[in-house]
């Protein structure tokens, strides 16, 4: 038997990558919550398997379904951020904006939210007041109402101070069908602003790295910006907010679900110098770092300039940019043209974005 060539090996590797993921671990590790490959394996092998239905299966960030004459979007999200308070926001506005954005990126107008709080015995009421006030302010800014809720208190040590779950309902008034599997060769890939601000802000706010900066979280509702994209490009294929796993994860989800290649131009990706600097020191790639007020969109190539112009006309979208395009080959992969002039793959994240040691 002759030795396989590099190309044959890589094709075999691609076939293996396309297999349905399995969960082989005996216990949940932190990797399962990182938003990368282990999270995907858990969702697809465990949750989709158990709950299988046509609304869930597309694995969008929200479920879209019809009730009577109305098309509704429905989603939920849990928030366990530490520290609870950080420059630019806190767990309260994050919990509102996160769910609002998961609705908004489907093209829906977010309407109503629920709020479930899990509090640890001994948690200061003053902190809770602060969190609730910022939830109320974020809800008002996003034009939604918190209409139902629940509170649980657990013994000291059984939860870390305060966790929040929110769920939300929105209504689709436009005739749009955005989907992670709708990208076509020739589409442009757009990001609505500089990436990585939130994640780096949180890492620095934890105080363990001895690095200071003026960075602030980008947490914000995206409803208005999504509206601008849909007006400038009614044939928009896909929008998703770049939260856990960052821009890299979304591009991988898009490439895999649409069976296209996503080719990014490293020089075009907006990253603040502070974020680049901190990420460089930590040995992590800003493309994997979470945002809480940015989305990635795939729009027909000929509408790209109009979309970016519309976004830049809004105070929240001034950093918007075309960061790449969709190609037919090789399906399922994300490539980066590096600033240095080479090419590399941008894969899903494995494990937590941990710093390298040397």
């Amino acid at each position: 038997m002759s030795e396989p060539t590099e190309r044959e090996v890589l094709e075999r590797v691609d076939r293996v990558r396309r297999r349905r993921p399995r969960v082989t671990d005996e216990r949940i590790t932190l990797s399962h919550g990182s938003g990368g490959k282990a999270t995907h394996a858990l969702v697809e092998a465990l949750f989709v398997e158990a709950f299988r239905n046509p609304i869930l299966e597309p694995l969008e960030d929200q479920a879209v379904f019809e009730v009577g004459q109305a098309r509704l979007a429905f989603t939920t999200d849990s928030f366990v951020v530490s520290p609870l308070f950080f420059p630019g926001g806190d767990i309260g506005d994050l919990a509102v904006n996160g769910t609002v954005n998961d609705l908004a990126v489907s093209g829906a107008r977010p309407l109503y939210l629920s709020a479930g709080l899990i509090l640890e015995e001994g948690f200061p009421v003053a902190d809770l007041r602060r969190i609730v006030a910022s939830m109320a302010a974020a809800a008002e800014r996003a034009g939604v109402q918190v209409v139902t809720g629940d509170t649980k208190v657990v013994e000291r040590g059984k939860a870390d101070s305060c966790f929040i779950n929110t769920a939300g309902i929105g209504v689709l008034e436009r005739d749009v069908r955005l989907s992670v599997s709708a990208a076509c060769p020739g589409d442009a890939v757009i990001v609505s602003g500089p990436v990585g601000d939130h994640g780096i802000t949180i890492m620095l706010a934890r105080g363990e790295l001895g690095i200071s900066s003026d960075l602030r979280s980008d947490t914000a509702p995206l409803t208005d910006l999504v509206g601008l994209v849909l007006e400038a490009a009614p044939q928009t294929r896909f929008i998703r907010d770049a939260t856990r796993g960052g821009v890299a994860t979304i591009c991988n989800e898009l490439a895999q679900a649409s069976q296209v290649a996503v080719v990014l131009d490293e020089r075009a990706i907006p990253v603040r110098p502070e974020v680049r600097g901190a990420a460089e020191i930590l040995g992590i790639d800003p493309l994997y770092v979470a945002c809480e007020g940015r989305f990635v969109a795939a729009v027909p190539g000929e509408r790209a300039e109009a979309v970016v112009a519309a976004l830049r006309g809004h105070p929240q979208g001034q950093g918007a940019a075309v960061i790449g395009h969709v190609a037919a080959e090789p399906p399922g992969l994300v490539l980066v043209d590096t600033a240095f002039g080479g090419t590399r793959i941008l894969d899903m994240l494995v494990g937590d974005p941990l710093p390298r040691i040397c």
């Binding site: 590099e6 090996v9 890589l10 075999r12 590797v13 293996v16 082989t24 005996e26 216990r27 590790t29 932190l30 990797s31 919550g33 849990s78 366990v80 951020v81 994050l94 996160g98 060769p185 020739g186 994640g199 890492m203 934890r206 363990e208 790295l209 001895g210 690095i211 900066s213 939260t243 856990r244 080719v263 110098p273 680049r276 600097g277 901190a278 460089e280 020191i281 040995g283 979470a290 395009h325 190609a327 080959e329 090789p330 490539l335 980066v336 590096t338 600033a339 240095f340 002039g341 080479g342 090419t343 590399r344 894969d347 494995v350 494990g351 974005p353 941990l354 390298r356 040691i357 040397c358």
Partner: protein, 400 residues
């Protein structure tokens, strides 16, 4: 962010002295990533290649491997230049038995095991640190051994063990931490010492009959400590040019140019490309700190390379109180690498990552069999994550 960016029990304020402002960090980086300069150096490299001749250059350090793939440096090189990935990824050379020993210690009553983040997913024979942590062991990620010492200070009723790994780059900080623990009289802190030395590993590689290397891209960080002199035997006795290189992509390209120029002119010398950081003599103070606290072990097992005499460090008996191997009778079982794993051949540069029979199929970054697939500096992980793509297909995709 909907999840914690780092493990929830990662430490709080670590660095002593004030915080570092981050804005200036990139100021000096961009010029080392300039596309036009890169093209100019690449053109010079192509000119220096003699027709019909092939060149194999080993980058010893995992940091270089990472840079090469992250920036797509191979795309700029002529076909005739082949980069061979060496044994300088500290995570990759840790044998399974040492991971097992560390987990065994973590399972003892009252122990907190601390480790750099890179090690958390390295498989031992009974799973990784991450899995041991999920089973209930108190394993915490730290950024520096001093963080570990602080955890010991804050938890006087616990025994805190630092899993020390790395070449001469990280050994000084472990040594300094032990000295500080001794000075402060902290009795609940110890080190499981796995520090290794680069020179014996290079000797082992040079002794191998299947070596296909015409020159070496020398490890920049290690050389800041040991200097350039120790590599002289490679140039003089083994006739192979050696260029100590920095970690930006232009550093690597320039080092390749310097190696080719030496070969072209029939020279074989140790040269220093990374003069902005590395001095010929190295850092004597750091070397003295290592020598004060540590001494060579008679022999040490390297993942994939086997047992290499005088290749690792252990704590001197004067510091026995801080030596986890003396505090516990660790099982110290020799665990054979899984049969399918070819990390050893990858680490010696005999095969490319993709030539390993389990590459990307049974062994992937999410379920690694070998250590080379774990760390982002491991040759297999770097190739899988960044480079797993043939140049013609990439070019086709770029054209859209």
């Amino acid at each position: 962010m909907r999840d914690r960016p780092a493990p929830p029990d990662a430490p709080t304020p670590a660095t002593e002295g004030g915080p570092v402002a981050v804005t200036s960090a990139m100021r000096f980086v961009d010029e080392f990533r300039d596309r036009d300069t890169a093209r100019a150096v690449a053109a010079r490299i192509a000119e220096l290649c003699e027709p019909g001749r092939r060149y194999g250059f080993m980058e010893i350090c995992g940091g270089h491997t990472h840079t090469i793939y992250k920036h797509g440096i191979e795309d700029l090189l002529p076909e005739a230049v082949d980069l061979v990935h060496g044994p300088g990824c500290p995570v990759c050379v840790i044998p399974m038995g040492r991971v097992d020993d560390a987990i065994w210690i973590a399972e003892q009553e009252g122990v907190i095991l601390t480790s750099f983040g890179d090690l958390l997913r390295v498989p031992g024979s009974r799973g990784s640190f991450l899995e041991a942590k999920a089973r209930g062991c108190d394993i915490r990620m730290v950024y520096s051994p001093l963080d570990s010492l602080r955890i010991a200070r804050e938890n006087p009723d616990r025994r805190v063990v630092f899993m020390a790994i790395g070449f001469e780059t990280t050994a000084p900080s472990t040594a300094v931490t032990v000295l500080r623990a001794a000075a402060e009289g902290i009795s609940n802190f110890s080190v499981l010492c796995n520090h290794v030395s680069i020179i014996p590993a290079l000797r082992a590689i040079l002794a191998a009959s299947d070596l296909r290397v015409d020159g070496f891209i020398g490890p920049g960080h290690v050389s800041t400590v040991i200097g350039c002199e120790p590599y002289r035997f490679i140039a003089e006795r083994h006739g192979r040019p050696f260029v100590v290189a920095g970690f930006e992509p232009l550093d690597i390209l320039q080092s390749i140019q310097m190696l080719l120029l030496q070969l072209h002119e029939g020279r074989s010398e140790v040269e220093n490309q990374y003069t902005r950081v590395v001095s010929w003599e190295g850092n004597r103070k750091a070397v003295r700190a290592i020598e004060e606290v540590m001494e060579p072990r008679a022999t040490f097992e390297w993942r994939g390379l086997g047992w290499i005499p005088d290749s690792a460090l252990q704590l001197r008996k004067e510091y026995a109180a801080f030596d986890a191997e003396r505090a516990w009778e660790v099982p110290a079982a020799r665990v054979a690498d899984p049969r399918a794993c070819q990390c050893g051949e990858v680490l010696r540069g005999v095969i490319k990552p993709w030539q390993c029979r389990v590459f990307g199929t049974a062994c992937t970054p999410e379920a690694p069999i070998g250590t080379c697939m774990v760390s982002s500096e491991g040759a297999c992980a770097a190739y899988y994550n960044f480079g797993r793509f043939s140049r013609p297909r990439a070019a086709a995709a770029r054209r859209g």
